[in-house]
Symmetry: C2
Subunit: 399 residues, 2 copies
Amino acid sequence: MSNGEQKFEVTGFQAGGMAAGIKEDGRKDLALLYSEVPAKAAGIFTTNVFKAAPVLLDMERIKSGTTRAVIVNSGNANAATGDEGYQDAVKMARFCAGALQIDEAQVLVASTGVIGRKLPIDKVAGNVSKLVKGLSPGGIPEAAQAIMTTDRYPKIQYREGPVGGSDICVCGIAKGAGMIEPGMATLLAFVLTDADVDDQAMKRALREAADQSFNAISVDGCMSTNDTVLLLANGLAGNRRIRTSTRDFAVFTGMLADVMTELAKSIVRDGEGATKLIEIVVEGAKSAGDAKTVAYQIARSNLVKTAFYGGDPNWGRIISAAGAAGVALDPSAVDLTFDGVPLFRQGQGIAGHLQELVEIMKKDHIRVVVKLGQGTKSFRVFSSDLTLDYVKINAHYTT
Amino acid sequence: MSNGEQKFEVTGFQAGGMAAGIKEDGRKDLALLYSEVPAKAAGIFTTNVFKAAPVLLDMERIKSGTTRAVIVNSGNANAATGDEGYQDAVKMARFCAGALQIDEAQVLVASTGVIGRKLPIDKVAGNVSKLVKGLSPGGIPEAAQAIMTTDRYPKIQYREGPVGGSDICVCGIAKGAGMIEPGMATLLAFVLTDADVDDQAMKRALREAADQSFNAISVDGCMSTNDTVLLLANGLAGNRRIRTSTRDFAVFTGMLADVMTELAKSIVRDGEGATKLIEIVVEGAKSAGDAKTVAYQIARSNLVKTAFYGGDPNWGRIISAAGAAGVALDPSAVDLTFDGVPLFRQGQGIAGHLQELVEIMKKDHIRVVVKLGQGTKSFRVFSSDLTLDYVKINAHYTT
């Protein structure tokens, strides 16, 4: 995703990543994001009731609304580790705060990797000084590498533009819903901006952008114990403070949504074993909720996902999934297209486009549009295909 | 499932099955179940909004509460076929009624197979006389064969016992949730009994038995356009009429549930590519709804299903699925066992049983018990593993 000419820097932020020996294969596994001044912070966390220790800690700490640093390890999720795990998360933040000489309450923590095993906290303790020494304004791509688990490539996105009288920038990194050993689909994403944003606008912009991006992807419908999305805004761009219900807010949220949507798409593309990005758009619904329900029912269907893997333009599986969503539909009003080519209309399949469809099914990004013919609401979800590699990767892990 | 000594006959019923050329490979594809006297009938049909033509027809006809015959074809689902398809379903019943010399309104119809293609109604017309001529009291196993699509074996179950002063018998046949080309997980089941059952007891017994059996299995969470379960009772056993809220009702419903549960289990075992039956029992829930929600969330998880395929005792995937079900749980109260061996308790994994677990994971029926520690309600669901063969079978169909 990165290239030599693109700069991934945000005024006032430093970052870094290193190999601390938490992963056994020697890859980078410890990342740090640091704001030179206190940054506003907002977060979205997994709704799984089995929340990992760092999630529980962050949910408390984010209430203050300000943060100086986020320390992240990969290779161990520090989940299902009980009280000892929680104390390890506290220690991880404390060691980091000590090395940075900041208040430990201003440090957030995230972990991803194997669950149910004690975090090797000594490896964090022994390496955090080196991690801090390695911080630099250009270190965000290194951090993106250090949070990877089974991801095939780092995920980083950058946007800049004028908001409130200044140029602001937004840079985000993420790691994948790549069915992490031993089986968590952990999503971690950290978005840094130099914009000046008020407290309410922070929360709302993050929520709106997440609903269009990380909350609109499906790799296998599993939600991890560790999912965490954090937004840090240090205000150094000098823009007019962004408040809700303003044009500035809309522009800022759009930039945020753009960064997060591209990250989300790269996560789907990098889903374990995935070979195709399937964009499912449900239009003409009575409510956004109906549109989302139908879209996810299609996105999660193993029959739909295997059909795309096999290159089969199998409209029957899609309409059957739509029909099973629990939303009252009129079959004769439903219309289905793949990349604009019609497959189903007025309760019947449409013949005569097989060759076009065979070509479309070979593409690595296919847009499926289902029109319900009931109203004006829509929802889009990004899904992936279900492949032999998905089963191989996830079946043959040994505890 | 059948064996030479077991008799599959129900007083007053005749059945048969033949190859009518609807399937291209020459296998049996047309089945008939016939009651010598008018039989009480109750049915449960797919809730998919895209209902196949025969489902729409049966939902109307079953309102009368009596039936003489059910004609079933495999190889073509007569789904997404519009008005013409509905007329074909009507014709299929009419031809059958003509050959049997009964009222066409007393004939029900079911279809399973490829969707979106016109039913070759001429093949029904040309063979129905022969089908009727082949009827016999011992023909139920032939009918079980003729309703198969990708099923590896026919599914038939028989129970008999004393109810209301007479010996009654219950015999059921089913075809699988085996992800039928081009992708419908069609479940068809037909249960015949010689018991005398009143109208209300018919409906309620079928519903209760289905909730424990066909509504408690998950192969891949897909619901077909054609799912149909019919109960026919001709009353020839001469028992005291079975009415709700009686001991007779409980015994009858138990027999029905027993037949239908064994059929359901054989459908899961025969799920496409499945190698293992995974019995997921959620206990200690506040409500039956909570228990069912958690059980299905686990049963449907691709990560759980691939772990069982791979033989990995991966408790993390199970607790994560349970935690994502949207039911408020106390992680420290949750307890997980595989065949009685503990894996997770009080918020943490339990070490020390790896060798036992490795042996359990090799079995072809594994019982997973999740205790929520919140109440007294429970739910059981039968699931299967997700295998390389599942993906191969479902990816490489070509339209």
